[in-house]
Symmetry: C2
Subunit: 330 residues, 2 copies
């Protein structure tokens, strides 16, 4: 597989230099591996910090800005960032009201954010954490004890970010973040494997004529291999997997997410089938987002996430946001 890179060793640093060049509204520290909103810390506002392995862009750096994250800590590709990044991020965004860590449920991320929370508290920053574990496909996986954190992260970061923007205190922001995390469910499908820069070839073998249902965002094994299916069949299988886990009792926010290598033309077609499947099962969709948001490098495929949203979550979802990848109302 050919890649538009210099050498594998500098992929993350090169991308951060490119982010810095494109986004003057961000402070990008290439050597410390930090993406911070330029006006941080915002006095009196709870700071939101997230991070994780690179390769899932625009998550998380593309979600830094007013109404969403205050800082992101990118690790190497598919590798957790280190506690030092998170401690620096916490210090950079603490406006005196404390900091919320948004953590996807992968063993390395959880350990490192835990350690960082202790270190940051030692330095006088009040820290709360929320764990995102929304992927219904499998329990326990290659890098995870429990469920994996995937597309639900976007909803947690957006909605908790809006609550922080409104001036909610740390315990309230954390409470809302946990409520969103509890209200999200995701399921992904891979048509091809992804190629990491270090390996330079597909990270697993997915033969022509087969797909994998329940794939993880690092290519972790899903539930089953199947012969190739139509968009309609994939949508039905995906929606069934989601609703078997949680049948929404309120309208949902819907994310039809590309894994990186699937054209937007196909994603919109898939959204039509996902909506048909949800309609047929009595699920009301309040808002829809279609595009590449939580990716797996160049993997072809898609994931579906819903977030069951009461009036308050819907209002916070609609609140203004101004980041590189998500932007409305401002």
């Amino acid at each position: 597989m050919k890649q538009l890179i210099n050498v594998p060793e500098t992929v993350v640093a090169d991308a951060l230099r490119g982010m810095a060049a494109a986004h003057p509204e961000l402070t990008v520290d290439v050597s410390a591996r930090l993406v911070v909103r330029r006006d941080a810390p915002v006095a009196g506002k709870v700071g939101l910090v997230s991070g994780g392995g690179s390769g899932h862009e625009p998550l998380h750096g593309g979600f830094v800005g007013p109404g969403m994250l205050d800082a992101a800590c990118p690790g190497e590709v598919f590798t957790s960032p280190v506690p030092d990044q998170m401690v620096k991020a916490a210090a950079a965004v603490d406006g005196g009201a404390g900091v919320l860590f948004v953590v996807k449920n992968y063993t390395g991320d959880v350990l490192n954010f835990d350690m960082a929370a202790e270190l940051a508290e030692d330095e006088g920053v009040q820290v709360a954490k929320v764990l995102v574990a929304d992927d219904v496909a499998v329990v326990d996986s290659t890098f995870t004890a429990g469920r994996r954190g995937t597309g639900g992260t976007l909803f947690v970061e957006k909605i908790a970010g809006a609550a922080a923007d409104e001036g909610a205190p740390l315990d309230r922001v954390a409470w809302i973040a946990r409520k969103v995390a509890d209200s999200c469910r995701s399921f992904g499908v891979a048509l091809t494997a992804c190629t990491t820069p270090a390996k330079g070839s597909p990270t697993f073998d997915l033969p022509d004529g087969e797909l994998e249902l329940g794939i993880g965002i690092h290519g972790e094994p899903g539930r089953e291999r199947r012969g190739m299916m139509t968009a309609r069949e994939i949508a039905d299988a995906t929606v069934d997997a989601l609703l078997t886990d949680l049948q929404p009792t309120a309208p949902v926010l819907l994310l039809v997410n590309g894994m990186g290598g699937t054209p937007l033309l196909e994603l919109y077609g898939f959204n039509a089938e996902v909506r048909r499947a949800l309609d047929a099962r009595g699920v009301v969709v309040a808002r829809t987002l279609v595009g590449n948001y939580v990716t797996s490098l160049d993997m072809a495929g898609a994931s579906v996430t819903f977030c069951q949203a009461d009036e308050e979550l819907l209002r916070l979802w609609d609140a203004p946001v101004r980041t590189a990848a998500l932007r409305w109302g401002v």
Copy 2:
């Protein structure tokens, strides 16, 4: 190549159903193949209509909304829309001030928009046209007499859309659109071929270890095949090709555009190298956009477009826009 579709014959209709489901702010007519802003026609405002073959999403449907296009006419994949679509679009968006057709320079598109302009004028709609032919790679190509129209289209649609939003009359909007088209230059690089739904396999052969400089957005031949290059080498070759054609004398708006299959992580790294190359050659970048905007299905690769922008074009670029794919200031 595996695709997330039902059958090739319904790919465009399926995508339009998915757009309709995701974007209640648009009127999507699936059978007539039209994407129109819901509040069209806007009384007294010049209407902007564009269109072209599908497979380049978010272009053009993703650019319909306040501050940009009033309507888009999607053809079949890599196939011009027909005059009937354009005439219907013109009628739907004419608020009494006339309509501007934004036409990418491909033979089919040019002929069909010409015919549509005559038909629309017969129906009493005043029509002006702007031709976008910004790709410096080759003169005359598979589907083109003269230069191909590619990434510059985004700048034409955004900036002319802002002028129309400000209430400029048709001759003025057309004048600005032509000025933007004249100020844009593009150059693209393919690492892989794209796969059309109808063919189901790569549309041309690009061996491992080779890339193609100067590729078109339908995979039309470029300038040359080369052994694989680093992002830095590709950026230098691209920027040299652009500046040999036009050395900007004003700051530029920069688009570092993914062809569909290249991860955002790589695109940001490429942006770092493009910026380095421009800096080294004395070109000042005023604004940067990095992402998949004018794509070629699942092709891996990228294109670079710059638009030389005086104070007025910069002001119109910064003006509010609210579409599915481009959104700021509102």
